[in-house]
Amino acid sequence: MKFDAFEQYIHDQYQGHEVAAPLEMEAAVMGRLWRIKWARRVSGAVLTLAVGAGAIWGWSERSVPSDYAPVEVVQELPTIEAVEAIEEEVVTAFAAAPVEVPAPLTGTEEESRVWPRPVRVDPLPYLTALLPVESACPEGHTLQSTESADQLWVISAEVEVEH
């Protein structure tokens, strides 16, 4: 760079020239740098989370390759004749199978059997609300409460005795 005398004179006049910057500017500059630094950190964290979420999603969506090559399978529908033959076979086999009839219980066995006690449901409030007991039992059947928790149906019967 070639300066003439005039330019050199002016250049020299401004060498080392300084003007004190306002005191509050330092805090303003440092504050802006601090905000930029934190904005970068936050955006970096958000980016990392987004990438992580994307990776997890991509992993879950990835198909698992099979060790075996795919084989085409053709399944033929059975004909009507074949179905009928199978049905006949099943029916014949069912008819031929022995039927086991349980032996009737003797009196002692029947008495000794313990039947589970039914859950008590009091039907009276519902029945009396709908119909009177007498009209609900036109043939003389009556429902009587006993001292025990069970109800007792008393059914009238006619017994004819041939002489």
Binding site: M1, F3, D4, A5, F6, E7, Y9, I10, H11, Q13, Y14, G16, H17, E18, V19, A20, A21, P22, M25, E26, A28, V29, M30, R32, L33, W34, I36, K37
Partner: protein, 187 residues
Amino acid sequence: MDQELLELIDSCKRGKSRAQRELYRRFSGMLFAVSLRYTNSREDAEDVLQDAWVKIFRHLNTFSRNHSFEGWLRRIVVNTAITHYRRQLKHAYHADIDEVHATPADLEAFKDLDYTREELDQAIAQLPTGYGTVFKLYVIDGFRHKEIAEMLEIDINTSKSQLSRARKYLQDVLAHMSLTALKTTES
């Protein structure tokens, strides 16, 4: 570049707040003077300097140790100021290849120069924006025509012609100031 400054720059690159404050305090006076030269008011100069410092710290990694650190800082401030006033400056420039050379008589007149910096400031402030900017970039801040052309987005020849015109204009202004001062003294 001294080792202490290099270590300070490295600490700033690592984001050390204390180092950043130290670097700021070391160069803020010089850079504020630069900022004041390329803006029209003190308020504008403060805005430009603040933006420039943020750019400096954010782009410190791009600084090459082979270059002058002071020159790099100066360039960022000037570029920030130019960006600040780009529209205004763009209108001020126009391609003008006709150079105006100072005559030997002009140079003779400035053989015994004796102006204070305040007087020079006043004279330079009277230059049209385009002339003034090129003159300050070339003569005061030491940028080359190629760099000035890049910064101002103008042709190198335009930069050269603006400088010639600025020099002539400034000499006229200073001569007029000297004449006025002489008349005031005589009366």
